[in-house]
């Protein structure tokens, strides 16, 4: 906060420059409105911070302006909102949380030659279209599955515990399937056997006991879970109720296990649940400061998704600084060559994009729900608390 206000003295004199519009497409209404609204707030806070710090210096202190688009959770609506924002003069887009919506928005951005920075959307397929204007900060599904298996093996080694057999429980559809397939492939290379894979439906799912018992019937050491919020809470509760003799529950790209609502929502079932996911860097002072101010301003905790929206706006701002131009094509080239040190997420290094537009250094870290809080526990360099593994009383 201090650093930013200190710079803002110069902002007033530079404010004469033009405003540059950035379009944000998120589900602001419908079932995902909670997270969509939070992400929009994250992007808005980034714009505010950048403007307060003097806007885009390379463009005479030009101010940024965030224009909202509401995808309503639907791919068609998201696409028409993206087209509207572009025609209203947005030089870049951020979005969109859902993979199917992102696919449509990305195709609209590509056709209009407007760069888009994906904040959250996991599906590998989005970037496999050969798009030139689309960039993604977070790791994709298959790299999360792969990193999840590597991390699980490394974690077992560090803790001195043998993880030999795992059962995989995932949500039906492209997301769950691609993460679990990538996990299974890498797990075999690491000497971990996936003894059972159980998928559950994405709709009309209100009790996970049968599926969890099915997964447990192969007698695994660890239950690995991939899915969204409500279903993963059900899975954790079912594991708690069945009380199996396992080392722990390990989420990969789980929508629940590292969410700050999870410990209170799942109660005892949340105890020591592990989650490998991309995550805001709780050890970074800059991200701590942003989270504090976010909570003060919007009255709710800033989850990782909103931090990614914040980061996406920073990527665009860095592109504008480097290109010194609000022309979308020059901006695209600048983003493609940018390198953002000190990312707000717990990544392997600076944010840099490869030729397909994926962030080269995107990776996952392990969180654990301990005493009602989500702590970062692995690897050591990002740890805010000590890893508890085995995570269950044996």
């Amino acid at each position: 906060m201090v650093g930013l206000t200190a710079c803002s003295g110069g902002g007033a004199s530079a404010g004469a420059g033009d405003t540059i519009a950035i379009g944000a497409v998120h589900p602001l209404s419908g079932g995902l409105a909670g997270v969509g609204g939070m992400m929009n707030d994250g992007a808005a806070l980034a714009v505010e911070d950048i403007n307060e710090a003097g806007g885009i210096e390379a463009l005479d202190g030009a101010q940024l302006e965030l224009r909202d688009g509401d995808s309503q959770g639907s791919a068609q609506t998201g696409q028409s909102e993206a087209q509207r924002l572009i025609s209203e003069g947005a030089v870049a887009l951020v979005g969109t949380y859902q993979s199917d919506v992102t696919e449509n928005v990305a195709s609209a951005a590509e056709r209009a030659d407007v760069p888009m920075v994906i904040d959250v959307a996991v599906d590998d397929k989005i970037m496999e279209q050969g798009y030139e204007n689309i960039f993604r900060i977070q790791p994709n599904a298959s790299s999360m599955g792969q990193a999840g298996a590597e991390t699980l093996a490394a974690m077992g080694e560090t803790a001195g515990v043998d993880v030999e057999k795992v059962a995989y429980l995932h949500i039906e559809g492209a997301f769950g399937t691609s993460v679990s397939e990538a996990f299974t492939e890498e797990a075999e290379a690491q000497g971990i056997e996936v003894v059972s894979t159980v998928s559950y439906p994405a709709t009309n799912f209100s009790d996970a006991t049968t599926q969890v018992k099915q997964a447990l019937s192969a007698d695994p050491d660890v239950v690995v879970v991939t899915g969204y919020y409500p279903d993963n809470v059900l899975v954790a509760e079912a594991v708690q109720a069945l009380n199996p003799d396992i080392l722990g529950v390990f989420g990969i790209a789980s929508g629940a296990f590292d969410d700050s609502s999870f410990p209170a929502d799942a109660g005892a079932a949340a105890t020591n649940v592990l989650s490998a996911n991309y995550h805001y860097a709780a050890t970074s002072e800059r991200s701590q400061d942003i989270r504090e101010r976010f909570e003060e301003k919007y009255g709710r905790p800033m989850e990782t998704a909103a931090m990614l929206s914040y980061q996406a706006v920073e990527v665009i701002a860095a592109g504008l600084e480097e290109s010194g131009s609000a022309d979308p094509e020059a901006l695209r080239d600048a983003i493609a060559n940018t390198s953002i040190e000190d990312p707000l997420l717990a990544f392997d290094g600076p944010i840099e994009f490869d030729e397909t537009g994926e962030n080269k250094n995107a990776t996952v870290i392990v969180m654990q729900s301990q005493d009602g809080e989500i702590e970062q526990v692995f690897p050591e360099e990002f740890a805010t608390a000590e890893l508890i593994f085995p995570a269950r009383d044996q």
Binding site: M38, E172, P201, S206, T209, T210, S217, V233, S261, G267
Partner: protein, 341 residues
Amino acid sequence: MNRGVRVTQTSTETKEAPAAPPRLLDNRQLRIAAGLVVVVGAAVALMYLFGGQPSGLLTQSLITGVLLGGVYALVSLGLTLIFGVLGIVNFAQGAMLTMSMYIVFFLATEWGLNLYLAAALTVPVMFGFGWLVQSTVLNRVMGDSTHERPLLVTLGLSLLIINVLLMVFGGRPVSVASPVEGSINVIGALVDVPRLIAFGGALAVAVALTLILRKTTLGLAIRAVAANDVGASLVGVNVKRIYAMTFGVGATCVAVAGGLMVSFTSLVPSAGEQFTTLAFVIVVLGGLGSIPGALVGGLFIGLVQTVGSLYLPGSGSLLLVFGIFLLVLFLRPQGLFGAKS
């Protein structure tokens, strides 16, 4: 106008009601119920013998299925009444369920009430809400032949409820802890206590509704209106008032459902929506307006979905549910407990 409600013996029963004490199920319904028990029992026995699944897993899935069926039945009971008597396709059923869960959440967290006390207080609130919706809005759009206008109104109502909840409570998941957490062990399978209570609630609501319909003057009036609203008004029944009461009673069922389900639900404004479609399936499967039909239908669908998931992963079990639904409609278009029109 007959709206397809189960009123087979209405004519005889209204004449002879004082003489013969009405039973909860008549002979025909008992035969259907017994037939279903035999079919399900045989299917279960076959699965234990030749199903190729560990018996512990099968037992667990049966018990989970019955408990899930209890939840489905709870949601469907109010719907079958509204659908059967008023002929209104109530798309707001899921949203009203969410609404009552949020009322329970509010009472439990803001006022610090016990969950089940909060649920009990929600019942009169939702009755008032249902009564108000029917008497001020729906009664005005109920024409002689069209179902579309009330249907569109309830669709609008559901959007309104969901978005008001979103505005007031935000979209982040919230939860209410149950005072009776934990689970008990029944023949090697786990029974979650809050779900068991919800199951008991479904049975209690079904019995209470049946008693109201069979034994009270209000119930008599509701059945009369359902059978023939013009005739009922000719003999002095205030049809619009009965409509409002019926919608209120339907909303009450939803309030009970919400109160009993909230402790095992991650509460977001769209939480109740997933039950709407299945509730319609259950109501049509059981027979429009049939209370035992909704109960048996709910249990049946819960069982099929849960046990089916052992054999068909993912949404395969839902395919099975809809497949059986179509089969039943093919064999008995009026539903399991429905009256032949």
